[in-house]
Symmetry: C2
Amino acid sequence: MVPPISGRRVTVHDVAARAGVSQPTASLVLSQHPRARVAAATRQRVLDAAADLGYKPNVVARSLARRRSFALGVIVPDVRNPFVADVVTGAQRVAAEAGYAVLLCDQSARTVMQHLETLRARQIDGVLLDAVGAASLPPDALTGVNVVLIDEPSERWPGIATDAIAAGRLAAEHLLALEHRELGYIGPASDVHAFRMRERGFVMRLREAGLSLASHRLRRASATVTGGRDAMRQLLVSAPPTAVFCANDLMAIGAVKQCLTAGLHLPADISLVGCDDIELARYVTPELSTVAIPARELGARAARLLVQLIEQTPQRVNATRLLPVRFIARGSSGVAPSPRVAS
Amino acid sequence: MVPPISGRRVTVHDVAARAGVSQPTASLVLSQHPRARVAAATRQRVLDAAADLGYKPNVVARSLARRRSFALGVIVPDVRNPFVADVVTGAQRVAAEAGYAVLLCDQSARTVMQHLETLRARQIDGVLLDAVGAASLPPDALTGVNVVLIDEPSERWPGIATDAIAAGRLAAEHLLALEHRELGYIGPASDVHAFRMRERGFVMRLREAGLSLASHRLRRASATVTGGRDAMRQLLVSAPPTAVFCANDLMAIGAVKQCLTAGLHLPADISLVGCDDIELARYVTPELSTVAIPARELGARAARLLVQLIEQTPQRVNATRLLPVRFIARGSSGVAPSPRVAS
DNA sequence: TTGTAAGCGTTATCAG
DNA sequence: CTGATAACGCTTACAA
């Protein structure tokens, strides 16, 4: 247990010397293959020496030699979005367990392409892309790197996704059951697959009920609270719907806020439904009805799949099945107000 | 502009060959010192060759040679806390600008010591510790690494902090001005410097007004929404205060929620004040009165200081001055209810 | 089973 | 100013 008194770090050389073996032999024992062909006695001597010296492998050197970084890049639009933070947390936990570091790449800091650039330079082992719109990247932006897409099914790259169509359908289902007929939709302006599908599922279910989504009741804005607020303000100007589905909870919260500001009562005057079920959804007033998306699980599975891809282990994660979502009814949605003609 | 047709990456070797110079010469031109002593003509040839081949330096190799990783570790309790996410975002932006990658180290994935371990193994250039309680780490946990503490002033390590005492004082000030005399405090159980100071500032100001914080009106719980809710429930059991200061907004939101559940009206029956001013604070009902802490700025400055420490540039960030905080009055606090005796 | 030699892609030190 | 030559710390053939 000699503490590292010297300034120099302990290297395999030192360990080898102390154990009286050649440096590569020591390396063999200490490196990846625990099952390496080396005499039990020798191995023990090496291990003891390593323990005595407090040897810690230098990951950088190892990376250079193995041409791998033992690190994953996680590219996300913005960690400040609680849903994204959840995804990242799930991914980080799995990554840590598997011995990978996580390089956080937030698009508020640099563009996706810039991040990919630096990740490449670092010989990144794999990259997780969350809601980045991989389809709209330059064609060879991702060649040569292991990639797993989050919530964006693609022919070209593996990914883990949630059942976004079901999410939209569930929202519609719920509102229809509450006898709403005048429906609105608020979604992000950006072209992200999951959001498109949520919208599609919503519209689809309305059609099945013989309804349609009037174009003036469909608003796009940035996928944030203020975006939702602005979109709702516009919706309220003329012929306001009796119920609105928002593509994510942040927008929904903005919409709720705007309704309250406008003096409306929820859910008496208008019903709102969000999507994601971020923790926050339970803390606004009224509590937000929403479709729960398993964010942490999404991140965790994506990371697991990526690690398997990297390590070429037989695929045990089912990459194709969509993660199920479920509806959570809370206070922001209720029975439709009786039609004006009746009053 | 020959695209990298071959499978092999382009190395300095290739560039040198194409430029007709030795490999180290090429390296000299391409590496850090743009002012290196090398003939203008030669340099240009090298640069042209590099451009032609689309040369991208290999950061891993560079790291091994220079014994630096060009990466920063950011250790945080939990990115899902919006305040923390803000800090991280600020840090990431500065890091990216300065050419550093960010390794995210969330304590929900591993312990601080484990993270420090892996960061060391990666020859990390510097580490940002946010609300980690550096003081309670083993004495030499941080030796040999560049460290900047966030919101935890220390003799041993440089750091960037906010004026947490002022935060507590401002909260007290506000509530006193509203004629509250029965005050409570909800804080985290964990021993984090900033939180202790917020409490201290609060109590200090009360003392100056001739008041004290009754021990049964001081509650500790986890620094989350549910923690705040639980703490508030206890506070309400007997002799509830007319106003409560919560050490952070998450707890405050939980407290608000609990009050509403208990049928209280805010701010008529009870006033609540949070701290941080996370975005969310404006989206709960009633909107949360709180002390704004410049989270992004905190992360950005800390990262800047860390980079300067690493690069030994003359210190231009004033590490000692505390970042100012300011009070934001919103709907969750109001004039104290008239004392019961008067009714 | 073990040691020798070579290499990963850079940077750094020195001669010339 | 330039070009050998030697690190950096580890892995991986290939011999012995």
